[in-house]
């Protein structure tokens, strides 16, 4: 059962400069009691998410909108379980497919086949499971014999095909995307588009952060607008986009 529930979640990033990153300086602060130590304790924090409460149910298609730095990526990472919130709780049922960086774990010196194995392992697939899907993945990439060559010999379009084919080969209950995954290669675009649409349709929950209103309206049903780490509007994607547009033109 796909379901995500965030209850009053806040995320704060401590900002470290060279001073606080140095163990020696920290130890010296420790020995000088009082004022300086307290100064060191009041470090600058960025409040990336502030008191976010939300529930996503099966079938939800959520579009995240907001200016740069509003907390979209941070929220996606909290949903992916990468950041444990500094305050509040998160409950999540269902297998997550984070599609933030499809090039994750691509080793340029290894062959295409090896890279499929590695990427599969990251997604929790055993060697046999990947091998069982190997033909399907290989066919999808249309790379043919190139799969036996090191990835460094690939063109950037070919690399993208490989990464795309592997990272979308596992069905997930919760799909998280930071901007729609684009594939530059013209011949491949239609195919990739169908595949990702299929993946999104099969997923119980989709959360997509994007600046592309047309895409969001086409893909999502609900919308959430973030502003300085807070939820500033929720509702249907149409309403939220309208709100976002008026907010943008006003501000």
């Amino acid at each position: 059962m796909a379901r995500i529930q965030l209850d009053r979640v806040s995320v704060q990033f401590p900002i470290y400069n060279a001073n606080t990153r140095s163990l020696k300086k920290s130890l010296m602060h420790r020995t000088t009691a009082g004022r300086i130590a307290r100064d060191a304790g009041d470090r600058v924090c960025i409040e990336a998410l502030n008191d976010v409460t939300l529930t996503f149910e099966r079938g939800d298609r959520i579009g995240l909108v907001g200016a740069n730095g509003a907390g979209k990526t941070t929220l996606l990472r909290v949903l992916a379980g990468v950041y444990e919130p500094t305050l509040g709780t998160i409950h999540r049922d269902g297998r997550v497919a984070p599609l933030f960086d499809i090039a994750l774990g691509i080793d340029p010196e290894a062959t295409g086949y090896d890279n499929i194995l590695i990427r599969g392992a990251f997604l929790g697939l055993r060697r046999q499971e990947v091998c069982a899907r190997m033909d399907e993945i290989a066919a999808f990439t249309e790379l043919g014999d190139y799969l036996a060559m090191p990835v460094r010999t690939y063109s950037s379009g070919m690399k993208l095909r490989l990464a795309f084919a592997v990272s979308t080969c596992v069905a997930a209950e919760i799909a998280l995307m930071d901007e729609w995954i684009g594939v530059g290669d013209a011949a491949f675009v239609g195919k990739a588009e169908r595949r990702i649409t299929d993946l999104v349709e099969r997923a119980g929950i989709l959360v997509l952060a994007s600046h592309n209103s047309e895409l969001l309206e086409r893909t999502c049903t609900k919308g959430i607008m973030l502003q300085h780490g807070k939820i500033s509007a929720t509702g249907t994607i149409r309403d939220v986009l309208r709100e976002y547009d008026s907010h943008r033109s006003a501000g």
């Binding site: 704060q12 163990l23 500094t86 060697r127």
Partner: protein, 276 residues
């Protein structure tokens, strides 16, 4: 050490965090197919396109051991047949111990892109480092086999004691990785400090010199934690039984180390992703 404590309000009670930390370590171990693959990949990546591959490690270590062995045996007036096997094994085992400590500092730092994208038990990055170094150790062990064949050394039954010793070193590698990996992720000058300490530790460990040649100051030696792990693995392979107090001492250090690592991991595991 000052570490940000904004976390504390969010933590309901200490126990669940401890359980999460233990769970992370246990589930990480279960994901052996992932760290096993990544560990191999690390080695293959380093030696890709070279004909001999990881055996370059063996060759360079072998050349060093052979050269230094003959030189020092002459320098210290030692019998080559006694000295060289012990030196060879000393270097090989030290190589394992030192890289476990040094590379584990970067266990989490090097895995930043993975940690920031996929929720996985963080301990897999430590297992990956430990596994990678055990594979390298296995390659280097070939040198000792050659040396043993030349000098006709057969460890006999005592050699079996090397297996639990290797397992113990692996277990220590894991807690060291959790502890140093975590501290290094927060304080980026720790890997440099550790590297310097290990450099000094090498000279305080009986590898190029023997314990017998150190007269009068033996107590300093006993303070060196690496001595115990080194001899627990080296002595059996040379067909000797390590001193009786070595096993209990090493076990006690292992337990203390794990306790300390768990204590830190319980508090700061959830912060690692933020520090990267």
């Amino acid at each position: 050490m000052r570490v940000p404590h904004v976390v504390v309000e969010g933590v309901p009670a200490p126990l669940p965090q401890l359980r999460l930390a233990v769970l992370d370590i246990v589930e990480g171990a279960h994901a052996w197919h992932l760290w096993g693959l990544l560990g191999w990949q690390d080695i293959r990546q380093r030696y890709r396109r070279s004909t001999l591959g990881p055996f370059w490690l063996t060759i360079s270590m072998g050349a060093m051991v052979g050269g230094l062995g003959l030189l020092y045996a002459g320098l210290f007036n030692q019998n080559v047949a006694d000295y060289l096997p012990s030196l060879a094994l000393g270097f090989i085992v030290w190589g394992l111990l030192a890289t476990l400590v040094n590379e584990n500092c970067n266990a989490f730092i090097d895995a930043e892109s993975i940690i920031k994208q996929i929720q996985l038990p963080l301990s897999i990055h430590v297992y990956r480092v430990v596994w990678r170094n055990l594979i390298i150790f296995a390659h280097n062990l070939l040198i000792f086999i050659v040396v043993a064949a030349i000098f006709k050394i057969w460890p006999g039954w005592a050699g079996l004691l090397a297996l639990p010793a290797l397992a113990l070193i692996g277990m220590n590698g894991v807690w060291i990785g959790i502890l140093l990996g975590l501290v290094s992720a927060r304080f980026r000058d720790v890997p440099q400090i550790v590297a310097s300490v290990m450099q000094i530790a090498f000279f305080f460990t009986p590898i190029i010199w023997t314990q017998r040649s150190l007269s009068g100051h033996g107590w300093i030696l006993k303070l060196n934690p690496f001595l115990y792990f080194l001899d627990l693995l080296r002595a059996p392979l040379l067909g000797q039984i390590p001193p009786l107090n070595y096993w209990p001492t090493a076990l006690a250090m292992t337990l203390c180390g794990w306790a300390l690592a768990l204590f830190m991991y319980r508090i700061y595991r959830r912060r690692i992703a933020y520090w990267l």
